[in-house]
Amino acid sequence: MSKGMLIDITKCIGCRACQTACKQWNDLPAVSTSFSNDWSNPPELNAYNWTRVGFHLLEDGDQVQWRFAKRQCMHCNEPACESACFVHAFVKTPEGPVVYKENLCVGCRYCMLACPFQVPKYEWDKAFPLVRKCRMCYDRLQEGMEPACTTACPTGANIFGDREELLAEAKRRIKNNPGKYIDHVYGEKEVGGTSVLYLSDVPFEKLGFRTDITTKGIPQYTWSVLKWTPHIAIGWTAILTALYMYTKRRADVEEEDGH
């Protein structure tokens, strides 16, 4: 059964234990940080920061409130990166995680252009760089463990489980707490659904989530055009051959008539 994560933003306290757990488990090097306006740290997702808690200081009338939104790969049900990769280095596993077979990678970076969430990052400091991103601790899942980030979460803001059950839980929380949540499970329908789901009490666009996004799987857009390729190749070759023979004959006849 396909696994997923449910991140309830109302429960996140911004402790960043998940960031640290991710770095430790995946053996990612520290990157130098700088002071950022919103106190987020590290400043951005990159090849060595696979998850990052975004700090958002929101104004609500004369009140200000903090909200913390953990971001990482969304593990799309229909990943744009998988469809974009011309050596099939990205694979959506039946277990849920979207994983990357690094030995196949040519380094074209079309996945980075393709991702609707700008998740895949590149090791720009290396001579032969790899694309890096969260893999929902696929190695831990295979050993029957949860991802490092969900085990580290002290408040239960980030929980791991079967995606369908998590979706039902999210809807239950919305229903049982009238007025608390925005009536929207982010990731239920976005780009055809994602393994990572979010609940929030403030509009998602205020937390940097893209809400003006298609609900159709992005690979479907490409495939609806790309599927015509073999038909065009064969049909067009046939037409060109016919044209070639017809106009050649005509030109030959003209030549004979003309002289």
Binding site: A80, V106, C108, P116, K121, L240
Partner: protein, 400 residues
């Protein structure tokens, strides 16, 4: 063909500069291959694709589109009056594609893995189709050139072999570019909801294909004019052929404009054209300045029949296609991508060096192979025939 007895390469000050730029490029390319993209370029996580993909590959393939469109007209439709430009168009297209392959090779992060897509089929990727088509088509063009090569090297059996292959090569050599010229546009279908809506469309492959075809005659005109300057050839004599070929461009410019209007209406995207944003204004400049203006100019007889007029109009079309590809890669993506990108001096150097190398190869080939002279042979034969006919008619021989 007695004039070709030795291989020659004339040295001029311009060529010394081009050679210097090429050598600098070789140095930069070596540095990039050894130390990586991060060391050599300003590419970053927001801008994974930059000058090399945007200009060298996307624009380079489009500008080399003159090869397959003239091949279609001359060899598939057997329009013999355009024969005089066939070899020049093939040569520039072949050089163009070799540069594209070069540019692409330097752009891939793990270049020792470049062969992977031949064996690991990500058939659901547009890039997979582009990779296969561009590789095959470059091979096809090299084989097409065999016809010219073995005429020069004088190996009858080999020339016969390559001549025998030509019809098949012509047909495949039109089919493959039709696919990948359009697919270069399809690459951006995946940027749905991110590429600015004046450029994003489900039919962006049709726009890319159409513009790759209409830029063909413009590019042939522009290159022919440059070559006539460089080699002291009579450009005026080629004008009737070029003006006639240019009609294809005029029709397709009109088609492109009408299709754009239909597409914008269908997607209800006219609001994005006139909202005054930077993207909208760039789009308006593209359509008004580089689609409608050259079309209107061509429709004026005094403009299209003058060398200056036709060349200027052609330059507008060529610049327009460059502008369009840059808009898709950079202008249209800027808002969604965020961050900042401007090519590093090494990126510029590699691009400029590749073009310099291309010009040098072009010069070498036209000076050592029969690229331009085919038409002059035909012209001489025609004169001879007229002369013979005049003699047969009992009149005086015409003055040649």
């Amino acid at each position: 063909m007695d004039q070709y007895t030795r291989w020659t390469f004339r040295m001029t000050p311009y060529r010394v500069v081009l050679i210097a730029l090429t050598l600098l490029m070789v140095g930069v390319a070596t540095y990039r291959l050894l130390f990586g993209l991060g060391a050599a370029t300003n590419l970053n996580d927001e801008w994974p694709w930059g000058l090399w993909i945007g200009f060298d590959v996307l624009t380079g393939v489009a500008l080399a589109g003159g090869g397959f469109s003239t091949c279609f007209i001359i060899h598939i439709l057997h329009k013999k009056k355009y024969h005089s430009i066939a070899r020049a168009a093939l040569l520039t297209s072949l050089i163009g594609y070799l540069l594209v392959m070069g540019g692409l090779f330097f752009d891939i992060g793990r270049w020792y893995n470049f062969w992977r897509p031949f064996f690991y089929w990500g058939h659901h990727s547009v890039l997979f189709e582009v990779f296969w088509c561009v590789s095959l088509y470059t091979t096809v063009q090299v084989l097409e050139f065999g016809h010219i090569l073995f005429e020069r090297i004088k190996s009858e059996p080999l020339k016969k072999l390559f001549d025998w292959m030509l019809p098949g090569l012509f047909i495949i050599g039109v089919m493959l570019p039709t696919l990948h010229q359009s697919s270069l546009g399809s690459l951006y279908i995946i940027t749905v909801d991110r590429l600015y809506p004046t450029w994003w469309s489900m039919i962006i492959p049709v726009f890319f294909l159409t513009s790759a075809v209409f830029v063909g005659p413009a590019m042939v005109t522009f290159e022919g004019w440059l070559a006539s300057k460089a080699y002291g050839r009579n450009f005026q004599a080629e004008m009737p052929v070029l003006t006639s070929l240019w009609k294809v461009t005029a029709w397709l410019l009109a088609f492109y404009f009408v299709l754009k209007c239909i597409d914008l209406t269908y997607r209800d995207a006219w609001g994005y054209v006139f909202n005054g944003s930077f993207e909208a204004n760039m789009f308006l400049v593209e359509i008004l300045g580089f689609i409608l203006l050259p079309l209107v100019l061509f429709l004026i007889p005094s403009v299209r029949n003058s060398v200056g007029g036709l060349v200027t109009t052609s330059i507008l079309v060529v610049v327009g296609v460059v502008f369009n590809r840059m808009n898709v890669v950079f202008t249209g993506m800027a808002d969604a991508a965020g961050g900042h990108y401007f090519p590093s001096w090494m990126e510029w150097s590699l691009t400029i060096g590749l073009i310099s190398a291309g010009i040098l190869v072009y010069c070498f080939v036209v000076e050592n192979f029969n690229i331009f002279h085919e038409d002059q042979e035909a012209y001489k034969a025609k004169l001879k025939k007229e002369k013979a006919r005049a003699v047969a008619d009992g009149g005086a021989p015409v003055q040649a």
